[in-house]
Amino acid sequence: MFWFLRRGFASLIMLWVIVTLVFMSIHFVPGDPVELLLSQDGGSADPATVQMIREDLGLNRPIVEQYVEKLKGLASFDLGRSMVDDSSVSAEIARRLPRTLELIALAALISLVIGIPAGIYAALHTGRAFDRAASYLAGFAQGIPVFVLGTLLILVFSQMLKLTSAGGFVAFSQAPGKHIGLLLMPSLSIGIGLAAIVFRITRASTLEVLPLDYVRTARAKGLGDRRIVLHHILRNALIPVITIFALQIGSLLGGTVLVEYVFNWPGLSGMLVSGVNARDYPTVTGVILVISALFIGLNFLVDVLYGLTDPRVRK
């Protein structure tokens, strides 16, 4: 229990550091941040507008006061208002977050369903055709950037074969089938690269477990192959897979940004990209804070899972 609390506390500290850093980032900019934010068209900004935005963002007040204000806002899930249309950033994020989460969930599922069985099969038949072919394919899948894979999927499946539309979004409540169909290609783009990593780690850790005594004992007891693989090999080989999977979460979240953009999936990334283009500071920091919190939260979850499967971690 103590282990669990300590890990949770560490996550909270990390979250606080990120909030502080993102808050500070606008003050690190040399010169006047507001003028810089407004100067995208090359011309110098209107002084009255600069003054107004400075007051909107609270930049005219003492820095400590701004910081306290920011933390208070966060405690009530208030991330400020968009500089473009004055809408609530938190409300927009709440609307888009589930779409990003379902994309990540399906991508993770695809990668595990492909990666783990393939990894175990390859490890049990090392050097055979399947093992060699899968290893080359994994190297390729790991190398190809997610947005290239997504773009090529569109080219082949929607442009050449006309099987699906090139992207877009339909609410699940309106047309469940179409919703899943549109979700499939973006999830595959992320899932394939991830499957390659899961495959490699599963294969390597299975190979490490195979020659161990308890596997030999299980075999000597006369257990069937199926039971040995499922109960003796898989359970022990999966621990490193969980660890590496957790380390991949960061790049997974980065990957969703690109893939959502490729497929016009209206998740957090569309908001982030248009925010960056419009130099909409509250929107960008809001989305970044939420994704970072997600990153920390998922890592915490994986650590807890890890502690539950392996008691040695709980020291």
């Binding site: 995208q40 947005f147 773009t151 940004v257 982030l272 960056v276 283009n277 970044i288 970072s292």
Partner: protein, 277 residues
């Protein structure tokens, strides 16, 4: 050991391909190529011809020349960022590992903070504040990869610092700076070189992603990510406009990855066990 580097094996193919990429991109401005920005609107979307082997793009610019210059830009950004990250990260790691105490604590906490952010997001935050373009791109990509160099350098210094030869140099009265940079640094170079090659490979991917979103290399400068981004608009008319940069980017990344794997196996023999060989 030295002989092994000279003998040709199939595993050296990535190294030769990488060398070819580097030479062509370094010499690109000197080669008898067309201007990658020269437009020829009469020949928009023209197919392959003798003068333009890969055809022409939506402004009639030569695709092959643009690909070569895009690879050049990619590698310039990647190497610049990796060198910057390598110098800062290594200095920080060596300092932390050698002096221990407060310096070590501060340096290692600093990199923990940077590691909290997914790399792409950190880059996007910087672009919001400073605006897109190479002047933002290189320092930002460098900051993203400082922590990995610091970690590698720190861990290597810890394993080396109490060795007899370090003790010997110190007892002869060498200064701390001399011990750190002329005694310890050459002895931990192996893992750092491996880290450098990985950083170049990952930076190429990250830069292309940012440019694809329109937040990295700015048009009209050629960049693979940007070419893929703009090629999407003309998907139906000219699919090859999309296929070429996709193929070039993927090939470049695969070459870099294969080279990194090979380099790691040579310079860091411990890690090859993990790969089950």
């Amino acid at each position: 050991m030295n002989g092994a580097f000279l003998k040709f094996t199939p595993r050296q193919i990535p190294a030769y391909l990488l060398a070819l990429l580097l030479v062509v991109s370094l010499l690109a401005p000197l080669l008898p190529l067309q201007d990658p920005l020269k437009m020829d609107t009469a020949a928009r979307f023209a197919g392959p011809s003798g003068a333009h082997l890969f055809g022409q793009d939506e402004f009639g610019r030569d695709i092959l020349v643009r690909l070569i210059f895009a690879i050049r830009n990619s590698l310039i950004v990647a190497f610049a960022a990796a060198i910057l990250a390598g110098v800062i990260g290594t200095a920080l790691g060596v300092l932390a590992g050698y002096s221990r105490g407060l310096t070590e604590m501060l340096a290692m906490r600093f990199i923990d903070i940077v590691l909290c952010f997914p790399p792409l997001l950190l880059a996007m935050l910087a672009v919001t504040l400073y605006g897109p373009g190479p002047v933002t791109l290189i320092p930002v990509l460098a900051i993203v990869f400082v922590p990995s160099f610091t970690r590698v350098a720190h861990a290597s210094v810890l394993s080396v610092r109490s060795q007899d030869y370090v003790e010997a140099v110190r007892s002869m009265g060498a200064s701390n700076a001399r011990v750190m940079f002329s005694t310890i640094l050459p002895n931990i170079a192996g893992p750092l070189i491996v880290q450098f090659s990985f950083t170049v490979a990952v930076t190429v991917v990250l830069e292309s992603g940012l440019s694809f979103l329109g937040l990295g290399v700015l048009p009209p400068a050629p960049s693979l990510g940007l070419m893929i981004g703009t090629g999407r608009a003309t998907l139906a008319q000219a699919p090859m406009l999309l296929v070429w940069p996709c193929a070039a980017l993927t090939a470049m990344i695969l070459i870099l990855n294969a080279f990194c794997d090979d380099l790691r196996d040579r310079l860091d023999p411990k890690s090859s066990k993990i790969r089950g060989q």
